[in-house]
Symmetry: C2
Subunit: 376 residues, 2 copies
């Protein structure tokens, strides 16, 4: 087997143990830790693919649930796959659809077979199973695809957390069987187990034992205290192979990303940068600002004087605030572009700090500059 995706460990930070690596994919190689912007419906909201690439992002995440419902995987397959459909030359990871089925769909029924649900768009009935999730992801054609899992809600009763984790393992085997060692797409398994160390260890051992080209960690940053997330990551860390990428799903904000990096995580994704941008919130080197607030009204400087993104090079806070107040779509667009650049610059700073064995120092500097105060 010649896996579609291969991870190369380059350096371990002597100050923190964080990992610097390179992920090789059929659509390019890039350094990790890396942050994936989210293109839920085959679009990173308000931005075109050239802008996303310009921010430094080399892999994006797209959502299987949304694309299955609209426009449907058959259309995307006939368009030549998701890369071509959305004109994205970098790598793509698709999730399994499981998370959205649990968070968005209506009247869902979980059985051993899979999840029956009604579309949040038109109420139509659908059945998502490990087999159909992989088949949909095959049609979409992402570089990395995810096994079908249940993202266990938090808090969960101990019995439920265990049975949910065990079902996710059985679904992993069915996902692998459906995937059949497809060499053009790398299948990642997902470690569940809620916030129970014992369950997390079982799930990690079993998932890793499958020998897949990457491992994801799901069901964290779902409402639990950050200390519990950290404890779970510490618990499973010794069980993860050094030569495979580790993906912490749905994370997140700069502080949570740093927590993950400190625990050896390589890949992250989150809608946060574009979602808060649409509400007028911008991440800056001095902490979050709400560009649509009155404080920006007469500020003719950029959102962030330390930022060289296209927004900050060309437009003032006062202008962007005006756009928001006037309901002009250019406002959310300029704020989204800025936030994507912020996230990519943050990841580049993290990678540079790992390379120079000073990630703990960087963490202190980011905290001192209030870059962790972004609101969630």
């Amino acid at each position: 087997m010649n896996p579609a995706v291969r991870y190369e460990l380059k350096h371990v930070c002597r100050q923190t143990g964080a990992r610097l690596g390179v992920l090789h994919t059929p659509h390019g190689s890039f350094e990790t830790p890396a942050f994936m912007p989210v293109g839920t419906q085959a679009s990173v909201k308000t931005l075109d693919s050239a802008e996303v690439l310009g921010s430094g992002a080399r892999m994006i995440l797209a959502n299987t649930y949304h694309l299955h419902l609209r426009p449907g995987e058959d259309l995307i397959r006939r368009a030549g796959g998701l890369h071509r459909f959305m004109n994205w030359e970098g790598a793509i990871l698709t999730d399994s659809g499981g998370f959205q089925v649990f968070s968005l769909a209506k009247r869902r029924q979980i059985t051993e077979e899979g999840v029956r649900f009604r579309s949040h768009i038109d109420g139509s009935e659908h059945l998502l199973t490990p087999e159909s999730s992989i088949a949909i992801q095959r049609a979409l054609g992402a570089d990395i695809i995810m096994a079908f899992d249940e993202c266990t809600p938090w808090p969960a009763a101990p019995d439920y957390a265990r049975s949910s984790m065990e079902r996710t393992l059985r679904w992993l085997d069915r996902s692998m069987s459906e995937h059949g060692g497809n060499e053009r797409q790398a299948l990642f398994g997902i470690i569940q187990g809620s916030t129970d160390s014992g369950l997390r260890r079982i799930s990690a051992r079993e998932t890793v034992a499958r020998g897949l080209p990457g491992v994801a960690i799901g069901g964290l940053s779902v409402g639990e205290p950050v200390e519990l997330m950290r404890a779970m990551l510490e618990t499973i860390r010794p069980l993860l192979p050094d030569d495979r990428p580790r993906y912490l799903m749905g994370v997140g904000t700069p502080d949570y990303i740093l927590e993950g990096v400190l625990q050896g995580i390589d890949l992250f994704d989150c809608v946060m940068p574009t979602r808060i941008a649409r509400h007028g919130a911008c991440l800056t080197s001095r902490g979050r600002i709400i560009v649509r607030d009155a404080g920006s009204a007469e500020d003719f400087g950029p959102i962030d004087p330390d930022c060289d993104c296209p927004t900050c090079r060309s437009y003032s806070r006062a202008y962007i605030r005006h756009l928001f107040k006037a309901g002009e779509l250019l406002g959310p667009r300029l704020a989204s572009l800025h936030n994507l650049y912020y996230m990519q610059r943050l990841m580049a700073a993290i990678r540079a700090a790992i390379a120079s064995d000073r990630l703990a120092d960087l963490a202190g500097e980011l905290a001192a500059a209030q870059q962790f105060r972004i609101g969630r």
Copy 2:
């Protein structure tokens, strides 16, 4: 007096009499006939200034009424003027605010002094006069500003059309007095007179007699049959000086623009290209298409195979339709960008046809290609 704006007549089409010229402004020189995209609220909707410039537009229109109400001319003056506020390096024309007062504002009262009205945004009371309109436009800092006028509604009773036209002339004198020969901004007067040839001739003679650096024609394309618009343009044409630019306000669609060009018009503006784009309609070399309709669902080619705009170079009709159906803002954005490129390419084709004395031939070709069927 060294006028801010100067028109240079380069060639008159031997086939049609249409004019090819160059307009020199403090923010660049460009060939005419030219089409100005509209940036109502200091933003050409969904697009950034680099994209608008990339389309070939060299002058845009911004609305005095909207900018006066929000964010206010004082803020824009302190930002360094409208060019700097919106980061637009080309030329800008601002209207007088009159048209919007009549079309958008509530509870307006017209007196000799001006127009008292309530804001459509918050109901606050305002008074717009020739003096205040010019003062607002001075603060905004456009290259070309417009005298305060009444855009006479159509149809109008003969007495009203005459008294409205006469008031517009008195307001022109007050506008000129307030302008005071400001050498950084060119003031244009506006010819009114509804669809009455006699009134149009009086208005044209009187307006031209003021010796301003440009002449605008208002109150046309406001619902009257195209034949009446054409007749009015033919009527006033012999009265207009060859060495001044002629601006047909609020026009328009490709067919109306061509009508204007054939009558010697040099400048046009309209919200149409961006407005119809937001509803999923695109102008193409084969006529209008509704990209959000089912007919685009499986069309993996561009909106227009003959178009080299950024949208057509990168994205398919099927993808753009998906964006519209999924409510993604990138859809209206890509359609708006395409339509702006279409309009600029149309104007370039018109200028080339004038230069080679074959504008009538081009008009026939455009009609045969159904490029005048765009719906209004």
